[in-house]
């Protein structure tokens, strides 16, 4: 436990940072004591990443000052941060897949630390001491996500660390792996290392952290001790008035099955990818099915097979059916004609072309809705559609000619979803629909999905955000190493159940009689 009257390890005073178009950090004050686990709470867009980048030296503040162990410092780059004893575990790992664990760590530690071979014994030692088993010679691409995070943490630990910053570490872990991580972190804190834990998940913060700073809209919305605050209070600080937006949606059971996947197996030729084995599921009209799972367990592959980006040979044609019609050999445009709509995980570079205007991006998936005649594009109709999407879904943009990449994440996601919904699909598949999106837009998106469900569409949502899945899905399942757990009603499922499924603890469902 941190002692209250020692010098704070890290202190931020009035830190501000402006980017073109927005004030990311506005006069932030923060203080972390030695041995303290401090949470930095906030929704997407609140300014957490920017603040963390400033602390780690990736970028510099425009105003304000930082004190390390009571001394004023100006951290100009990550190397300097590391010299002071600050270590960082990024949300998107900065690891080199074609190199081994030891080589990755050797690179991070600088030329004086020694060659990869010389570091191997130390790596083995440290990983044993903190209960994170790792083999130094393994190539990173062969490691699971949880193991890769361990490499990141061990890399930090080997550098005599005083402050460990973790950016949304549990977003890529199963609930069990998250618990193991917390054990490691508590041990570290007990040894005197401070921890800055960045998250938006209230339950974890309450379980792990001694104190918290809540950011909202770039400003500090409050400081608190999480254990002494209720969910309501924390949510109020995090989202302010928008707390009212976080909805409760009644669960329904659907009608006739629309999407049927029967014993879908697929071998992935990509050595870095995942293969699927015997996946069976049904999505009914008028229901939302949610599939949980940490990245790398087959989500991308399943999505590609469902959307048509990856087709199957003729003998497997019936492994995917829309309302009884075999579609597994059909390409995306043919499936769209049958009523499919798809919102991919990546907005820019997959769901929308960043350099094209919103109008062109509307044309991108809606071209079979009467927007093309005799091979020529009907610009007028494309404009109308784009305007409709912008107005109906509250997309904040000067006009439909703005490039897709000029929109904020939330607005672009609203546009993409709106584009699909306005085509009145019978089946909508959405991957990580509110990833990186601010609270207001996320609520709009959830409401739109529920409305679509109530209008009779079948909806499949794949997401890493368990809170979201519990909120909007009627039935739940999880993907683990290319296998799908049997679906169960959300009302009958607990978080720990889903956690178990994500870790592979389920029996495969028989293909024909899936719930």
């Amino acid at each position: 436990m941190p002692s209250p009257d020692s010098t704070p390890r890290l202190q931020l005073r009035q830190i501000s940072k402006r980017y073109p178009g927005c004030l990311a950090n506005d006069a932030i004050d923060l203080s972390i004591a030695p041995g303290e686990i401090h949470a930095l709470l906030g929704e997407n867009g609140a300014g957490k990443s920017t603040l963390m980048k400033i602390i780690y030296g990736v970028t510099q503040a425009d105003a304000g000052e930082m004190l390390w162990q009571g001394q004023r410092v100006n951290i100009r780059n990550p190397a300097q941060a590391r010299q002071l004893g600050i270590g960082m575990v990024f949300q998107h790992f900065s690891l080199f897949e074609t190199l081994s664990v030891a080589q990755n760590i050797a690179l991070a530690m600088g030329a004086t630390a020694g060659t990869p071979k010389q570091l191997e014994p130390t790596i083995a030692d440290v990983s044993r001491r903190y209960g994170m088993a790792l083999e130094p010679e393994r190539l990173v691409h062969s490691l699971s996500i949880g193991e890769r995070q361990r490499v990141e943490i061990i890399r930090c630990l080997m550098q005599d660390i005083r402050l460990l910053i973790l950016d949304e570490p549990t977003s890529v872990l199963t609930p069990q792996e998250a618990d193991e991580l917390f054990i490691t972190l508590r041990r570290l804190a007990a040894e005197g290392c401070s921890i800055l834990f960045i998250s938006h998940k209230l339950a974890e913060v309450r379980a792990l952290c001694h104190s918290a700073t809540v950011l909202r809209g770039g400003r500090v919305a409050g400081h608190c001790v999480p254990a002494e605050c209720s969910d309501q209070q924390l949510a109020q600080m995090m989202v302010g008035e928008a707390a009212a937006l976080i909805g409760e949606y009644p669960k329904v059971s659907g009608g006739a099955a629309y999407l049927q996947v029967n014993g879908l197996s697929w071998h992935n030729p990509d050595p870095f990818g995942c293969s699927l084995s015997d996946i069976s599921l049904q999505v009914r009209s008028g229901e939302i099915v949610g599939i949980a799972g940490v990245a790398g367990n087959g989500q991308d592959e399943l999505l590609a097979l469902l959307s048509g980006e990856q087709t199957l040979p003729r003998d497997s044609a019936t492994s995917i059916c829309f309302a009884g019609q075999a579609v597994a050999t059909l390409r995306p445009d043919a499936r769209r004609q049958l009523g499919l709509a798809f919102v991919p995980a990546e907005r820019l570079g997959h769901g929308a072309v960043p350099e094209l205007s919103l109008a062109d991006n509307a044309l991108l998936t809606a071209f079979q809705q009467g927007l093309v005649s005799n091979g020529l594009i009907k610009r007028g109709k494309v404009e109308t559609l784009a305007q409709q999407i912008i107005q109906r879904f509250g997309v904040k943009t000067p006009d439909s000619q703005s490039a897709a990449r000029s929109l904020s994440g939330g607005n672009l996601q609203k546009f993409i979803l709106g584009r699909e919904i306005l085509q009145q699909p019978k089946l909508l598949i959405a991957a990580h629909p509110t990833w990186g999106v601010d609270v207001g837009a996320a609520a709009t998106i959830h409401r739109a999905l529920i409305a679509l469900r109530d209008a009779g569409a079948a909806i499949l949502v794949i997401s890493e955000d368990l809170d979201e899945l519990f909120q909007i899905s009627d039935r739940l399942g999880a993907l683990c190493a290319g296998r799908l757990s049997p679906l169960r009603n959300t009302t009958d499922s607990l978080l720990s159940d889903v956690g178990g499924w994500m870790a592979g603890q389920f029996n495969d469902a028989p293909s024909s009689a899936t719930l």
């Binding site: 073109p20 390409r331 995306p332 445009d333 769209r336 798809f342 990546e346 072309v353 094209l356 091979g375």
Partner: protein
């Protein structure tokens, strides 16, 4: 860093069109320095290079004759480059089109009907398309990089041409020169004017200009090509058939290059010779970029490039400057264009280092 680049956030429309002009001006400026270093008066040299060649009607007609093959090739390249298919093989496609057209032409020298010319032109166009089709096949079937395969095919086409012109297609009555027999009158492109060598190929160029504009700006296929070039994943996501589009783009650019080649041998040259093309296929690459892959822009830049060709010849004759000056200017322009393009997305800022420290000390002084 004293001079730094600040992202604009949006493309600057102004710079999009100014950048080529700026690049051209910088090239001229650099060229002038070069002339001074070589002991020539820069203004006079520039005049010889750029103004004198088109100061009379004959000069203008020569300009059009030279610009024609470059324009055709560049239009075809624009289609391919929009799809990010880096076809460097326009030169080989042009040569192969010329070769195929000539192979037919020397066998129908005595044919009188106008169909002779039509057949020859069609042969040349299809041959160019087929040569590009090789690149398309290697790319779609074997995933072989089209830059390298199309360049290799350039060298192969050139050697094929040399082989034929020294062997099978050599004029038996030609005193052993490496050239084919002159084509028959019915196999020649008719001239449009009394003076000068401007020929009916101009009509093809105008047709191609309109067709490519409609394709890229108005048609859905053009949209698919653009999406494929900008974002392959999105194109796959919506079901645009990548392989088909690659074939289409390469066939079109090969066909236009082949047409350019066969127009050269049935037009100004009148026979097959080793020097069918002084690098038109490569010049077309610069022209395509300079014209922003836009048909109108390409029209203007091909005229500029043709001017450089003629000016280069003239400078060699009157000022004894090496003819390679044309190629040198070509390369400089492309380089400057790429460098100036940075201004489209970034704003140059002069950053004075002490300014930042001042602001920090002011804040900390206030905080104490």
């Amino acid at each position: 860093m004293l001079l730094s680049l600040e992202p604009r956030g949006q493309q600057s429309r102004l710079m999009l069109w100014c950048s080529p002009l700026l690049a051209a001006l910088l090239t001229l400026g650099c060229g002038s320095l070069l002339f001074i270093a070589l002991g020539h008066d820069p203004l006079q040299t520039l005049h010889t290079l750029l103004i004198a060649p088109i100061s009379d009607l004959y000069g203008v007609s020569e300009l059009l004759v030279k610009a024609l093959p470059i324009l055709l090739c560049a239009l075809g390249l624009a289609v391919a480059y929009q799809a990010r298919i880096w076809n460097i093989g326009a030169e080989g496609q042009l040569l192969f089109g010329a070769l195929a057209g000539s192979a037919l032409a020397v066998n129908i020298i005595d044919m009188q009907s106008h169909w002779a010319l039509v057949l020859i032109l069609l042969t040349g166009t299809f041959a160019g398309a087929a040569w590009a089709g090789l690149t398309a096949w290697l790319r779609t079937r074997f995933n072989a990089n089209e830059i390298l395969t199309s360049i290799m095919l350039n060298y192969i086409a050139l050697n094929l041409l040399l082989f034929c012109v020294h062997g099978p297609l050599k004029d038996p009555a030609g005193y052993n020169f490496p050239e084919s027999a002159m084509f028959g009158d019915a196999s020649r492109l008719p001239l449009l004017m009394e003076d000068g060598r401007v020929h009916a190929g101009v009509y093809f160029a105008l047709l191609a200009l309109v067709a490519v504009w409609v394709l890229l700006q108005k048609s859905f296929v053009g949209f698919q090509i653009k999406v494929l070039g900008l974002d392959k994943r999105a194109a796959g996501f919506v079901g645009f058939r990548e392989k088909r589009l690659i074939w289409l783009a390469l066939l079109i650019s090969g066909g236009l290059a082949g047409l350019a080649g066969v127009c050269e041998v049935t037009g100004p040259i009148g026979q097959l010779v080793p020097q069918v093309s002084p690098g038109y296929g490569y010049a077309a690459i610069t022209v395509a970029f300079l014209g922003r892959l836009n048909p109108i822009g390409i029209l203007f830049s091909s005229l500029l490039m043709a001017l450089l060709y003629i000016g280069g010849e003239s400078a060699q004759m009157t000022l004894n400057l090496p003819q390679a000056i044309t190629q040198l200017f070509q390369g400089m322009m492309l380089f400057f264009l790429l460098a100036c393009d940075v201004l489209i997305l970034y704003r140059p800022r002069l950053k004075l280092r002490w300014a930042r420290r001042t602001s920090t000390t002011a804040v900390t002084a206030g905080a104490l």
